[in-house]
Symmetry: C2
Subunit: 105 residues, 2 copies
């Protein structure tokens, strides 16, 4: 999660998840790690990048919209989302995006 993701030639898709945490851990760290592990097993998963200071930004990369939809509907992930709403996030924003172009060094 803490490296620049190696992604294929565009187009592909991404989910930009930006969040402000509450002060409450209550299983957060354990679940966050489990969600990474679980995401990596999903069809269409291409990689992810993550950093947190005042806000947290996690960008996960996916082959297509279908893969994103399936990941959102994953049973274990749904439970984590519910706990996120209730316990772990003060506020958050999810943006579903299409990566059209990339370059780097």
């Amino acid at each position: 999660m803490s490296n620049i993701a190696s992604t294929p030639k565009p187009p592909y898709y991404a989910v930009i998840f930006t969040s402000v945490r509450t002060a409450c851990d209550n299983g957060y760290s354990k679940t966050a790690n489990r969600m990474i592990e679980l995401a990596e097993q999903q069809p269409g998963y291409l990689g992810a990048e993550s950093a947190r200071e005042n806000i947290g930004i996690t960008v996960s990369y996916w082959a297509d919209l279908e893969s994103i939809k399936n990941w959102k509907a994953n049973t274990e992930h749904l439970q984590a989302q519910r706990n996120g709403h209730k316990l772990w996030y003060e506020s958050f924003k999810v943006r579903i995006v299409k990566v059209e172009r990339d370059y780097g060094m």
Copy 2:
């Protein structure tokens, strides 16, 4: 930069800039702040989000691709990009994306 950006109803565009810093400051912090200030003045700028741990992730939001192209070509920004390549970044990746959908809490 450190809050969740208030963005309009999609579609709009974004630049996901992921980077690994070198140990060298050499004007980095000053330039980073100036680039935020300068970006905010550009036509089509909608907001930005930023966090750094092992890697840095900055997502800037834009009304259209034309605005992103103009920002990339801004003279002062071009100089910052050159210094970024030479001095400040071990590696980086830029992804130009179209935001198709968003939701949040």
